[in-house]
Amino acid sequence: MIYEGEFLKDAISKLLADGYRVFAPSRVGDFHVFREISSAEEADFNYILPRNSAKVAVFPQNEILIEYGDWIERVPMEEKRIAIVGVRACDAKAIKLLDKHFLEGFVDPYYKSRREKLLTIAIACNNALINCFCQSLGINPRKPEADVVVSEIDGRVFVSADTEIGKSFLQGFNLRNENEEELEIKKRFESEELKMREIRVDVEKLKKSFDSPYWKEVAINCKSCGVCTYLCPTCFCFDIYDEGEKRGVRIRTWDSCQFPLHTLESSSHNPRAEKWQRLRNRFYDKFYYTLRKGNYYCVGCGRCIDFCPAGIDIVNAISEVR
């Protein structure tokens, strides 16, 4: 369907009026970050990819699990509905992958409390960034998997909804059906591929190269920082710790498998003590281990390549494995 006007801004105003917590890209200096906004003016959609991923909306960097005194006093849960506006195909896919992790097996109640009330509004990509490679992982950047999808083609705003929650949200808007020409335009838009990098994943080769000295070579310049994992839309590792001796909170915060402390045991034994082991773990985690769950846990957003201070490139590292 077609919307006349700025759909995303109007959607934000409506969501805020409906009592949603809205996460949208907002401009900071020269770049954009996903964060919670309180008015439609704070959002800015003149971007391709925000610095951080949209996972902050469903899996915040720190959250309180339990408030305690002598014993548990309160277990806070998200009560408001949450909306992510302006998510790209890669981040939208990543939320699906996070669902798999947090909702299969033991159900994570904190994640669930946000996820089951979540509305995602995605934008189709018109351009790719220099390090985008989502297409080679089977994601169509022009057809994101989300509740509501917005595509801006030649000045026309196409809006569509695939899910129930998305359809009912759209009922509040004045939309008209596409005419035949427009349907054709949209169809063509969705089938056109964007020019971007490609990753070649050879699972058999990965399996054979696990003990290869290649990984030491790749990791030689790795700094063991958390940029790649903290910006990654599918990384889900976290840490739990208590803040406050007599009275306080049990907090869950993001953690990174690249930090040597991540796996350090109290006995001083560390299963992944060397940085090349940790980096290899991250690569295998994305492309080999998680296959048992049925997916690659990489969506090709390219953030880890853009912002790696050492210039480590997951596309090159995986494609050229030996």
Binding site: I66, W71, I72, G105, D255, Y288
Partner: protein
């Protein structure tokens, strides 16, 4: 829906000193306060939480056929140091039972050999208690256990009692001591000496990594197949639910898909443990 991150309230009812000295071990008997004990199986563990300090994973040290829950705790860090200060009556939190248990049901009719070293005896104790309590269902039981010195042996009283009662308990210490009547040497050497028969036998080993490694070689020399050998792994754990990613080995979470693994599974992994 129950929140798996929220612990049950539990009370310490008994504290027993197992080992004293610089690396003390205490065994805590714990009773749930607001509810009955949950069902669990040998090999499973719990996250014991002390609010203000954190949570730690401990394997349940007694068999489900015995009352209450027992945990043996080696003093190593923040949580365990606090636990060691605790007395009967103090409140702790328990989350569990977590993880995959030993397939004791599948082992019916088989002979059981437990090979333990140091604090690694904990999960094995749960097994031999279970096997003793259900003696009719199992074949012969052999308990092989060793520690650095006689003072470092955990569950001493219980083991000596078992010897008195005629069970096949083989103890060892690393260096000779006065008044020591049993084997002197490392645990794998003791296994080599005792030569358990691999026919219809399950061997379960747990202890320091180096001991496990050598024991595995010894067992395979004796003719044990990989799927006849079980062990438990230890990793840093936080959530216990297979979410936080700390205890992950490949796509397995030690807290959820372990801690019990058989050797065939372990040798199929890329990352050697």
């Amino acid at each position: 829906m129950e929140n798996p991150y929220v612990p049950y309230k539990a009370q310490i009812t008994e504290v027993k000193d197992e080992v004293k000295g610089a690396r003390p071990i205490k065994t805590f008997r714990i009773k749930l306060v607001d509810r009955d004990r949950f069902d669990y199986k040998s090999g499973q563990g719990c996250l014991v939480s002390v609010f203000g300090r954190g949570e730690s994973w401990f394997t349940i040290a007694n068999s489900p056929t015995r009352p209450d829950l027992e945990f043996s705790v080696l003093k190593t860090g923040k949580v365990t140091a606090k636990l060691h200060e605790m007395k009967p009556g103090d409140i702790v939190g328990i989350r569990g039972p977590l993880g995959r248990a030993f397939p004791l049901e599948d082992w019916k009719g088989m002979n059981i050999v437990t090979i333990g070293g140091g604090i690694g005896q904990t999960p094995l104790r749960s097994i031999y208690q279970y096997v003793i309590d259900k003696e009719k269902d199992y074949g012969d039981l052999m308990i092989i256990y060793g520690a650095r010195t006689s003072r470092d042996l955990v569950y001493k009283d219980e083991l000596f009692k078992l010897i008195e009662d005629g069970y096949n308990v083989q103890l060892s210490i690393d260096n000779p001591e006065k008044d020591w009547k049993y084997f002197v040497g490392f645990v794998p050497d003791n296994v080599k000496r005792l030569k358990p028969n691999p026919k219809d036998t399950i061997a379960i080993t747990c202890g320091p990594p180096i001991m496990i490694k050598i024991t595995l070689n010894v067992l395979r020399e004796l003719g044990f197949r990989e799927d006849q050998i079980y062990t438990t792994l230890e990793r840093r754990m936080k959530c216990g639910l297979g979410k936080c990613g700390k205890c992950r080995i490949e796509s397995y979470y030690v807290c959820k898909d372990g801690p019990v693994f058989n050797y065939a599974e372990l040798s199929a992994m890329l990352e050697k443990v």
